[in-house]
């Protein structure tokens, strides 16, 4: 009898707190989005699963000695996992389009207004009773506007670990929602004529330029923004391994097995931060709202910058490609292509949008470096 009592006590049913149930439903929702809706499944599936596991009463996944506890402390708290992901992403990135048309970097720069504008907005939200975002919180939230998962996780783990779960979920959710968020804004800010603009074909880029490019980026980061070197350094290492062509076996491992293993663990560890007391707060609502604003503002800034640039440029620029400056590689570039095709059935903007797209990755890593330097 005593044993049965013990068994009942060791059942979750006797220990569930309402918040845990809600968070499990959130986890299930993320799994649904990942599996059925195919929203960023590589991240949202492990995140959702981690959210479920961490909220199981008595199981202690995130308590000292638990599996998720180890993974989080070894991989996220140290910053190692996002940096390894960034190395793998670097090894998958092709900068040809950007090197062929470097002015696209300005679009990647403009889109970062999504970050800095949101930072202002997050602080402004403090006027609403119940919100008390510090400058660090605001910076960590604002980076959602960078539309880059590992950058957001890295910065949040440095500036506001308590908000990490909500920030990562918001970042990946909005990245999956890019095809819904961006097109209306793009259509609002451009006219039919502009959307029809066809762009000149990009010049051929030599292997040597592609090898020197990551080194040049690294050099500039070292000189002017050392706080961004962890992110940009690992990104450039991955890209150099790929482009140099002399360490193919390392490059292949970095962009396959290594990034896969780290992705599983990173997702689980992020999910482990989705606990009721950290996530079911007013702050999370603010973060979700600010994230949507960040993506929208970034998109708008990119498009407007493209229009401005087009005016001062000899060659015409289709302003739609500015929207790709928010990063969200390669989704944003695909959306640009799609909206472009709607206006002009012969207008393939994909390659042209890859330039601002990868520029956006650099831009948000630079922005993260600035925030680390000035806020941390």
């Amino acid at each position: 009898m005593e044993k049965i009592q013990l068994l009942w006590d060791s059942t979750a049913l006797a220990h569930f707190e309402p918040g845990q149930i809600v968070m499990m439903i959130v986890g299930a929702l993320l799994l649904y989005l990942a599996i059925v809706k195919k929203f960023e499944p590589l991240l949202l599936l492990p995140i959702g699963f981690g959210a479920v596991l961490t909220n199981i009463p008595l199981a202690g996944f995130s308590d000292a000695g638990g599996l998720l506890y180890y993974i989080y402390h070894i991989g996220i708290e140290t910053g190692v996992f996002p940096l390894l992901i960034f190395m793998g992403v670097g090894a998958m990135t092709d900068f040809s389009a950007l090197i062929a048309n470097p002015r696209m970097l300005l679009l990647g720069a403009a889109a970062q207004f999504g970050i800095f504008g949101t930072l202002f907005g997050a602080i402004a939200l403090n006027f609403v009773p119940g919100f008390e975002f510090s400058m660090k919180d605001a910076a960590a939230i604002a980076i959602i506007g960078g539309a880059d998962g590992p950058t957001a996780i890295f910065l949040a783990s440095r500036l506001a670990p308590d908000l990490l779960g909500a920030i990562a979920v918001a970042a990946y959710s909005y990245m999956a929602l890019v095809p819904i968020i961006q097109p209306p804004i793009m259509r609002l800010l451009t006219n039919e004529q502009e959307r029809k603009i066809e762009m000149a074909q990009l010049r051929h880029v030599s292997k040597r330029e592609k090898i020197i490019f990551p080194l040049a980026v690294l050099l500039m980061t070292i000189l002017f923004l050392p706080s961004a070197t962890p992110l940009i350094g690992m990104f450039c290492l991955g890209n150099l391994m790929k482009e140099s062509g002399v360490v193919d076996r390392l490059s292949n491992t970095a962009q396959n097995e290594l990034i896969n293993v780290v992705t599983i663990f990173l997702g689980l560890a992020v999910g482990s931060k989705l606990s009721a007391d950290k996530f079911l707060t007013l702050e999370t609502l603010g973060i979700l709202a600010l994230g949507a604003i960040a993506f929208s503002v970034g998109t708008a800034a990119g498009v407007l910058m493209a229009k401005l640039l087009s005016r001062f440029s000899s060659q015409k620029i289709n302003p739609l490609i500015g929207a790709a400056g928010v990063s969200a590689v390669p989704m944003a570039a695909r959306v640009v292509n799609k909206v472009g095709l709607e206006a002009n059935h012969h207008n393939f903007l994909l390659m042209h949008a890859m330039g601002p797209n990868v520029a956006g990755v650099l831009g948000s890593a630079v922005a993260a470096g600035i925030l680390l330097a000035l806020v941390a």
Partner: protein, 84 residues
């Protein structure tokens, strides 16, 4: 010591009975669950989506879906805060 062992043995017998009971209970319940899943599944047959070979399913994002995600999370939070 033999008396200790006897008492331990009694505990072990106890554990054996309860353990087997729980194992059967758990897996029998799972039978019900699987049958339930199969039943529900037969009620709402899968729409056979002919997967197009041309687009990678990996990073595809289904646009047709409303952005209800955020709304749903928001609702959950409100619910939770009100219940507290």
């Amino acid at each position: 010591m033999p008396s200790d062992v006897t008492s331990l043995l009694f505990d072990a017998a106890n554990l054996m009975v309860i353990g087997m009971f729980v194992v059967f209970l758990f897996l029998a319940t799972l039978i019900g669950a699987v049958n339930l899943i199969a039943w529900v599944n037969s009620k709402f047959p899968e729409v056979e989506v002919p997967v197009s070979r041309h687009q990678p399913s990996q990073s595809k994002s289904n646009i047709a879906i409303s952005s209800g995600v955020v709304a749903a999370i928001s609702a959950a939070i409100h619910q939770h805060r009100n219940n507290k």
